[in-house]
């Protein structure tokens, strides 16, 4: 009986596990190995120890890439999570009508793809003739019409963050809404009866129950924003002056253009480490805050 059960189980799980190992686990292990070699595609990979990593830490381009990635990610996370939480709190209010339709409107950008919408946002951000410029002109802000949204060094990361926020806030709103619905209604109503105001209800009743989901959303939002290649590719291509030359761009450039595969792998490994460390630390910090 026991033997039979084990065999059945193996039959069911092995196809997927094999695929998973080949296309997900193996790449991570390979990235780990190649990081310590001076590998170029098509040649053997001589072991160089930690040379790639020491070079990376001294490489100004790598530092620019980390800075650009962090700038965009932090802007996108603060904006996206903030907007999502506010919208979810409004939509969860029992007096708001047609909440389902509002939610749908907010959610639609999530199911579109980066390139089509990137094309649209290119048109939005154009100087003079762009949609944003022309709306600003209609509203009377004629001095802002000439704004270079995607080529100004200060504005470019913001422009990309806005695009990311537009595309992903719907998802986070959905997560927050689900969590808010899970807060028991009688607890909320009991606190209302006891004279708690809206802010107190949020601070002392809902917030403690929503901390785990907030960690989850921040982690997902941050890691996603850190790894995004598409919005940068579509809007700025890494410019101006490297302000949006984020990690994924640095990585691909080193691999395909400079043919430094080992070096690119090392950068990928650091990138991976950053994402996982952040996820780990965020969940720890939140767990401690709860207990």
């Amino acid at each position: 009986m026991k033997q039979r059960e084990l065999r059945t189980c193996l039959v069911f799980i092995s196809p997927a596990i094999i695929f998973f190992v080949v296309f997900w686990a193996l790449p991570v292990l390979m990235a780990g190995y190649y990081s310590f070699t001076d590998w170029q595609v098509g040649r053997s990979a001589p072991w160089v120890g930690v040379a790639n990593f020491t070079e990376l830490f001294g490489d100004p381009l790598f530092r620019t890439a980390i800075k650009a990635s962090l700038t965009i990610a932090v802007l996108a996370v603060i904006g996206g999570v903030g907007i999502a939480l506010s919208l979810a709190l409004i939509l969860a209010h029992p007096d708001i009508r047609a909440a389902r339709w509002w939610r749908l409107a907010i959610f639609i950008p999530v199911v579109t793809d980066w390139v089509s919408t990137g094309l649209v946002w290119q048109m939005m951000y154009l100087r003079d003739r762009g949609v944003i410029a022309q709306i600003l002109a209609k509203l009377g802000f004629t001095s802002l019409v000439r704004t270079e949204w995607t080529t100004d060094p200060t504005l470019a990361p913001i422009a990309i963050a806005i695009f990311i926020i537009w595309k992903s806030t719907g998802l986070y709103t959905l997560f927050f809404l689900a969590a808010l619905k899970a807060v028991p209604k009688d607890v909320l109503e009991a606190s209302t009866v006891d004279g708690a105001g809206a802010w107190q209800r949020f601070r002392y009743v809902r917030w403690p129950l929503m901390k785990p989901i907030t960690t989850f959303i921040i982690v997902i939002a941050f890691v996603t924003a850190l790894g995004l290649y598409e919005p940068i590719f579509m809007l700025t291509g890494g410019g101006p002056a490297g302000k949006t030359r984020a990690l994924p761009i640095f990585l691909l450039e080193n691999f395909f253009q400079f043919e430094r595969s080992g070096y690119a792998s090392a950068a990928g490994l650091i990138f991976l480490g950053m994402s996982l460390t952040f996820a780990f630390v965020a969940s720890r910090v939140m767990k401690e805050a709860v207990s």
Binding site: F23, W24, D113, W166
Partner: protein, 308 residues
């Protein structure tokens, strides 16, 4: 025998009625000012999220000079529906049409969705209903893989697919996404809800394991199937970096990859209205799929967040 279902039934039907009536009381309590504020915020948000898409739809049926006219024109003077025909069938990509790219995307996304459903239901069943050593650890690895930034593994993945001889092919576009940690995790969550008694009863009656899977597990996994199908279809359709890395001949381009050849700074003619028509066309299949399976999709996403 292990305990019955592990999930707590959330059916609180009888207690709903009194709660509703308390909510009604609250309706009178929230002030007009508060509601005006809420609806203003919602209206602004809906404007922000929908305006680019509405503008795109309208631009798709304009003439080229109308698209970026100064001052801005919202409605086209005449609705040029033929723009969509030109977007689809003009051979503007070195002899290939955008229709071909859409077809490629359809094939890749459909195969991915089908494989994802089959593989993840199988493995999800294995995880949910069998005990084996290392099960929890494996589950954590699968879940952790969803946090992996794709761009950080794209280089080794490229090498693996190259070794398999699948560079620049539709197969290569599909292979790495035939199963994802996310799909496995979701299936397992759903299948855990199937009562063990059903499976045991069939086994005691002498049913084979294949029979149990085909006649009990599969039919009861309806929501898992639709959730995984829609999530993997959308994820596949939205892939851009991977096709960009492995596809070189235009006959193997997906819709997003083809679209990326257009755009500001590209060497193509600035046929803005055609760009917007193409972008609209590329958004339709995932949008239709999403609207058909909205409920299971949203439920699946909520499940991923661990709320349910």
């Amino acid at each position: 025998m292990n305990a019955v279902a592990t999930t707590v039934p959330t059916n609180n039907g009888p207690t709903m009625a009194p709660r509703r009536s308390i909510s009604k009381h609250r309706t009178r309590r929230s002030s007009v000012l508060f509601r005006v504020f809420c609806y203003t915020v919602l209206l602004a948000a809906a404007g922000f999220f929908l305006l680019p898409l509405v503008w795109m739809l309208l631009a798709a049926v304009k003439t080229q000079p109308e698209v970026l006219a100064i001052p801005i024109r919202w409605l086209p003077s005449r609705w040029h529906w033929s723009n969509f025909g030109h977007a689809l069938f003009d051979e503007r990509f070195a002899g290939e049409t955008f229709a071909r790219f859409l077809l490629n995307s359809m094939i890749v996304a459909t195969v991915t969705a089908l494989a994802c459903v089959l593989l993840s239901i199988m493995v999800g069943y294995g995880f949910a209903k069998f005990r084996f050593r290392g099960r929890e650890g494996l589950l954590w690895v699968l879940l952790g893989s969803t946090l992996l930034p794709f761009s950080s593994v794209v280089i080794p993945l490229f090498i693996i697919v190259q070794r398999l001889g699948q560079l620049d092919s539709l197969g290569g576009l599909t292979l790495p996404f035939l199963v994802t940690g996310q799909a496995i995790f979701l299936s397992r969550q759903f299948i855990r809800g199937i009562p063990d008694d059903y499976l045991e009863a069939a086994r005691i009656d002498g049913a084979s394991e294949t029979w149990v899977f085909l006649h009990i597990v599969l039919p009861l996994s309806g929501s898992a199937i639709s959730t995984v199908a829609v999530i993997s279809f959308l994820a596949s359709w939205n892939q851009f970096l991977w096709p960009l890395v492995i596809s070189s001949s235009q006959s193997n381009f997906t819709a997003p990859l083809g679209l990326s050849l257009l755009g500001v700074g590209s060497s193509f003619q600035t046929d803005y209205q055609i760009w917007m028509a193409s972008a609209t066309l590329a958004m339709i299949p995932p949008l239709v799929f999403f609207l058909i399976l909205e409920r299971p999709y949203l439920r699946g996403l909520e499940m991923m967040s661990g709320v349910k």
